[in-house]
């Protein structure tokens, strides 16, 4: 469903992604690991269409459509969802209102009927429970004054409500306590299905015990330099990134 070919991207003259190739088929979970600053969030943001990043080469296709031609909202309509590493606060806009607007915008774009406030509340009830979100957070402004953990739960809650095709999770596990990690992982797992793909950026093997990936990729310096199964994550946990960086250097 997702085909990334030879993707190069830069920000303010600095080349960050330097030739990414990645194929995600429906139903698959791909984990991306790698040292700080290697470009993981950049990849996630480029997928979502953030304008700060300039794509200088390569292609991205989602279900055969050229993602790079689409505006961020059109990408969301096509099924792309990014759970942000740093969720954004929007003072003055209530969480529940925001989410209903988003859902209705997506439904409208797909030619489906919009949901009124009552139907919407009924629809989200189960999902609130799933993510263990306090009701009170729904009425508050989007992410404003939320704890780090609440923000991350809120991202996955939104994901559960919007039911995207391609879920990109950027360090959704960082800042979560052990219980919250399980709740969030459970939320993600409940969304796993044969027609949905996941790209999960994380630093910790621990998350991958809960969300078991089909593939693990290592990003170093803007390239996916090594790929393997879930056991690669265990190896990284044990040995760090040094040996991979050495391998890459040796090949160069």
């Amino acid at each position: 469903m997702l085909e990334i070919r030879n993707l190069h991207a830069r920000v303010e003259e600095k080349e960050i992604l330097r030739g990414i190739d990645l194929t995600v088929r429906p139903g698959e979970v791909h984990a991306i690991m790698g040292p700080n600053g290697s470009g993981k969030s950049t990849l996630a943001n480029v997928l979502a269409g953030r304008e700060d990043y300039e794509v200088t080469d390569g292609t991205i296709q989602l279900e055969g459509e050229d993602l790079l031609e689409m505006e961020p909202d059109a990408r969301a309509h096509a099924g792309v969802f990014l759970a942000f590493q740093y969720p954004v606060e929007i003072p003055g806009v209530s969480n529940v209102y925001f989410l209903r607007s988003a859902l209705n915008a997506i439904r409208k774009a797909r030619g489906e009927e919009e949901m009124d406030s009552m139907k919407f509340m009924a629809y989200i009830r189960e999902k609130i429970k799933l993510l263990g979100l306090k009701d009170e957070l729904l009425q508050r402004s989007v992410n404003e004054g939320f704890s780090g953990g609440e923000k991350k739960r809120n991202e996955i809650f939104q994901m559960a409500v919007l039911e995207p095709r391609l879920c990109v999770l950027d360090e959704t596990d960082s800042g979560l306590d052990i219980d919250a990690l399980q709740t969030v992982a459970h939320g993600v797992n409940s969304l796993r299905s044969a027609d949905r793909g996941f790209v999960v950026v994380t630093h910790y093997q621990r998350l991958l015990n809960f969300i078991v990936p089909d593939y693990v990729h290592v990003m170093v310096d803007g390239r996916l330099v090594k790929s393997g199964g879930k056991e690669l994550a265990l190896e990284l946990e044990e040995k760090g990134y040094g040996w991979i960086e050495a391998e890459v250097a040796a090949q160069a």
Binding site: E51, D73, P87, V88, G92, V93, L103, A105, A109
Partner: protein, 436 residues
């Protein structure tokens, strides 16, 4: 050396002739009031930008035009005039004249509504005793001219202790071209009375006139008044208003100045706190687009101790529009324990949008809490991206953020129907999709 030009060298012969004729008519108090108005207008003239108070209000084209006194307007309107609440006390003034057919007010205990013209034939009546005593026309040539020209208006009286549950709607319509109209409002809230009033100024289509409203409000001891003023005239019209209030001990006056309309719109709002333990709000929501100039001058006068005042201005400016905010707060030496807070914020939606803001605090007491702050910002990229990533189209995302910006004031308005009407007006104004 050339003299500094403080007034335009033009006259408005047709309008002044009407004012001159007025002076010879009616009871003595009225003749005195109108001649005071004309005298001040002739003394001040139409100010140029050299006059500090009028520095950012470009009046040349208004000064150079040959205005007439506005004719009586039409008897019905298409589309219908704004209305907020079913069953409200409804008062309609067309070109400053009370229209009994369009108005609709049930008899409510404690509430008196009457056309001001009814008071203009008597020697002594409740209107004659107070009309013109609140508005400070001495520095305001347009308020002065309006005082010379007015022929009608509405008097709203709340008897001692009366609680008016119905919303009181005062709808002002300006109609026609080249006319000056002087709608006059006098509101007297006696001791311990309670009411909510919304005053709304609109035009009949693309009117090209000059609306010069003068609104005077007296809030007596312990009275509690909410007063929303909505100026949403066509952007072909000019609007220069004087709005003044006097508060007595223990009274509460919550005022909201909503300014969306007019090609040139200026409102001078003044509040005199002449008793202790008053609570005052003077908030504003401004939205300017195209080539509009919207200028609000507020003056808050803390004469006595132990009063609290709050002022928040939220200003959204798009295209090549200009918004001016000038907020004076005087705290007299005697006014200890004053708590006065002022914030004014502007959101610039385009590179050519302009804000001129000037907080002006003059504090002569030493045991007070007075703060002010001003910010100018733009819509931030990150929240926009976040919303769009969730599927919300750009326009709608912007509208949500603008609404969120204005909401801090709009949410304070206690009448839901009025709040919702203003939200819809804001959406229409900014050309964004209605989504609430």
């Amino acid at each position: 050396m050339s003299a500094v030009l403080t007034r335009y060298e033009t006259t408005w012969p047709n309008v002044e002739a009407v004012a001159q004729a007025h002076i010879g008519e009616g009871p003595l108090w009225l003749r005195n009031l109108r001649s005071r108005g004309l005298r001040v207008f002739q003394e001040l003239g139409i100010p140029t930008p050299k006059v500090e108070e009028w520095k950012y209000t470009p009046l040349r084209d208004i000064a150079e035009r040959k205005w007439e006194l506005a004719e009586p307007g039409p008897a019905w309107f298409e589309p219908a005039l704004p209305s907020f609440v079913e069953g409200a006390v409804r008062i309609v003034l067309v070109n400053g004249r009370f229209d009994a057919n369009l108005s609709d007010f049930p008899r409510l205990p404690g509430l008196t509504v009457s056309p001001i013209r009814e008071a203009l034939t008597d020697d002594a009546n409740p209107v004659s005793a107070v009309l013109g005593t609140i508005a400070r026309i001495e520095k305001h040539p347009f308020g002065a001219l309006a005082t010379a020209l007015f022929e009608d208006g509405v008097y709203v009286h709340l008897a001692t202790g009366s609680v008016i549950e119905s919303l009181i709607e005062i709808v002002h319509v300006t109609s026609g071209e080249g006319g000056v109209c002087a709608p006059r409002v006098l509101i007297v809230a006696e001791k311990d009375s309670v009411a909510k009033i919304v005053e709304v100024y609109v035009t009949d289509g693309a009117a090209d006139s000059l609306t010069l409203p003068v609104t005077e409000v007296i809030v007596e001891r312990g009275a509690n008044l909410e007063h929303v003023r909505v100026q949403d005239e066509a952007t072909t019209n000019a609007h220069i208003a004087l709005w003044e209030t006097r508060q007595a001990e223990g009274s509460e006056y919550r005022s909201y100045n909503v300014a969306f309309g007019g090609r040139l719109a200026r409102t001078d709002q003044g509040i005199d706190l002449q008793g202790e333990h008053c609570i005052t709000r003077l908030d504003g929501v401004v939205a300017a687009t195209g080539n509009q100039l919207i200028d609000n001058h507020t003056r808050l006068d803390h004469a006595l101790p132990n009063c609290n005042s709050f002022e928040i201005y939220k200003q959204v400016i798009d295209d090549e529009a200009t918004v001016v905010f000038n907020g004076q707060i005087f705290v007299h030496a005697h006014a200890q324990k004053t708590d006065a807070k002022q914030t004014n914020q502007a959101l610039l939606m385009s590179p050519k949008a302009t804000i001129n803001s000037k907080p002006q605090l003059e504090i002569f007491a030493d045991d007070v809490k007075c703060t002010h702050g001003a910010t100018v910002g733009q819509l931030e990229d990150l929240p926009l991206f976040y919303m769009r990533q969730r599927g919300i189209p750009q326009e709608m995302a912007e509208s949500l953020l603008v609404y969120a910006f204005a909401a801090e004031v709009l949410e304070l308005i206690s009448v839901d129907e009025v709040k919702r009407d203003l939200e819809a007006r804001l959406d229409r104004k900014l050309g964004t999709e209605p989504l609430r």
